[in-house]
């Protein structure tokens, strides 16, 4: 293995969890997420010489997001599958997750399932800022770079995402109690 490959793996592979987590939450499908991440890692490898150094995670997540957008656009153009949002609304199963993941069993609690379903039901522009902020602990500035939007937009989307999530989640809990 050459030096470039070694440096790339040392810097990029530690963020593979972050990459797959973002991809899973964007695609809401295990198989699609794997494809997006593989595509992203190859693009990152080709673009590695342009990486300015520092923390690779935001850089890599920006590539993951772009790959997801490209793949979603491709599917729409080919007319095979609807865009992710429409897909979710047409098919309730999209809200549950295909394929087991190692930690899923550990937190396969009632609260966790309802929360997951509530996050998955958010429109993608709200879902992504929420995942980047609450799961990746990234700053507004980093999220703005990754999502290619102004910081003001990140702030308002995050705020809206939290409000929607709270309403959906509390709604879930209350409707269960009513039964």
């Amino acid at each position: 293995m050459d030096d470039r490959r070694r440096r790339f793996e040392a810097q990029a592979l530690p963020h593979l969890d972050a990459a797959i987590n973002l991809a899973r939450w964007l695609t809401r499908s295990g198989a699609d997420a794997d494809d997006v991440v593989q595509d992203a890692m190859l693009r990152a490898w080709r673009a590695f010489d342009g990486f300015r150094g520092g923390d690779m995670r935001p850089w890599l997540l920006a590539i993951v997001r772009n790959c997801w957008r490209n793949s979603a656009g491709d599917r729409k153009r080919r007319g095979h599958v609807a865009m992710p949002e429409e897909h979710a609304e047409m098919n309730g199963e999209a809200l549950t997750f295909s394929g087991p993941s190692p930690e899923a069993s550990a937190i396969n609690t009632d609260v966790g399932r309802k929360l997951d379903a509530a996050i998955a039901s958010l429109p993608h522009e709200f879902r992504e800022v929420l995942v980047l902020r609450e799961m990746e602990d990234l700053s507004y500035r980093e999220i703005a770079s990754i999502t290619d939007s102004p910081i003001g937009t990140v702030m308002s989307r995050l705020s809206r995402a939290r409000t929607m999530l709270r309403e959906k989640w509390l709604g879930e809990v209350e409707s269960t109690h009513a039964l």
Binding site: D17, V37, R46, A47, L115, D116, M135, D148, R162
Partner: protein, 254 residues
């Protein structure tokens, strides 16, 4: 009516406030029941998200798949152009010139931020995120201009360009590069445009820049430096700058 400090609670919990503003929020939380309740709600949502929501992890199969894909990929060193665009923060829908300009800016600028641009972006963000957007609310240049002259000791050109799509909504005093700046605030559709003006700035200025998705246009007129910043399209900001430049010339003849 909701507390006007409510929007700052999220920025506070997200660790986005500086020490002075964080202290101010903490003090406010002691006396405002509404904000304290909002803070508690946000905290419980956050702990639920971090404890109970699924964080997906890469399994051994995906690791193997990626290593195999990397083995197959022949080494190439070119940076894909679409990716560089995306990372430069060039918003979609801006003109090719603006895209090229912001691209050039990001490629040429070192990673360390230009302090003036950071100052202006921060002042703009502060004005939008806090309640300090406008000190003097008026659509009348005969109110805003004398107010700025009295409070900022500067008299930049001010006019309501509502017909051209830039509605004057007020003015305030801000600080740029440690000196007092007169700020004229315009509304363009859903966007806020802050126009900063300050004096005695000798250093070289870029014509324009893009930072965090905000476009910034600079120009000089007389002994004043002007800077317009907004998240609207660069062409719109350039149009406002042309209107203000023309006004400077008229003002000078008066």
């Amino acid at each position: 009516m909701p507390c006007d400090q409510a929007h700052r609670i999220e920025a506070y919990l997200d660790g986005e406030l500086d020490a002075a503003n964080a202290a101010a929020v903490e003090q406010h939380l002691e006396s405002c029941i509404e904000c304290a309740a909002q803070k508690a709600q946000l905290e419980s949502l956050r702990s639920a998200l971090r404890q109970s929501a699924t964080y997906h992890r890469a399994d051994a199969r995906l690791h193997g798949r990626i290593r195999a894909a990397l083995d197959e990929a022949s080494p190439r060193s070119n940076v894909l152009p679409w990716f560089r665009n995306a990372w430069a923060g060039a918003a979609g829908g801006v003109t090719a010139t603006a895209l090229a300009a912001s691209l050039a800016f990001f490629v040429l600028m070192p990673a360390a931020t230009d302090p003036l641009i950071a100052d202006i972006t921060n002042a703009h963000l502060r004005s939008i995120a806090s309640d300090h957007l406008i000190d003097v609310v008026s659509t009348d240049r005969h109110t805003v201009k004398p107010w700025l002259a009295a409070h900022a000791d500067l008299s930049p050109p001010v006019a309501d360009f509502a017909k051209q799509g830039f509605k004057l909504i007020g003015g305030r005093v801000d600080f740029i590069d440690g000196t007092r700046a007169a700020v004229t605030v315009y509304r363009h559709g859903a966007h806020i445009v802050n126009v900063f003006a300050w004096a005695n700035y000798e250093a070289e200025l870029p014509d324009f820049a893009t930072r965090n998705g905000y476009h910034i246009v600079f120009w000089r007129s007389g002994n004043l430096v002007f800077c317009a910043i907004s998240d609207t399209a660069v062409d719109d900001i350039l149009q406002l700058s042309r209107l203000l430049k023309a006004l400077s010339q008229t003002d000078g003849r008066e």
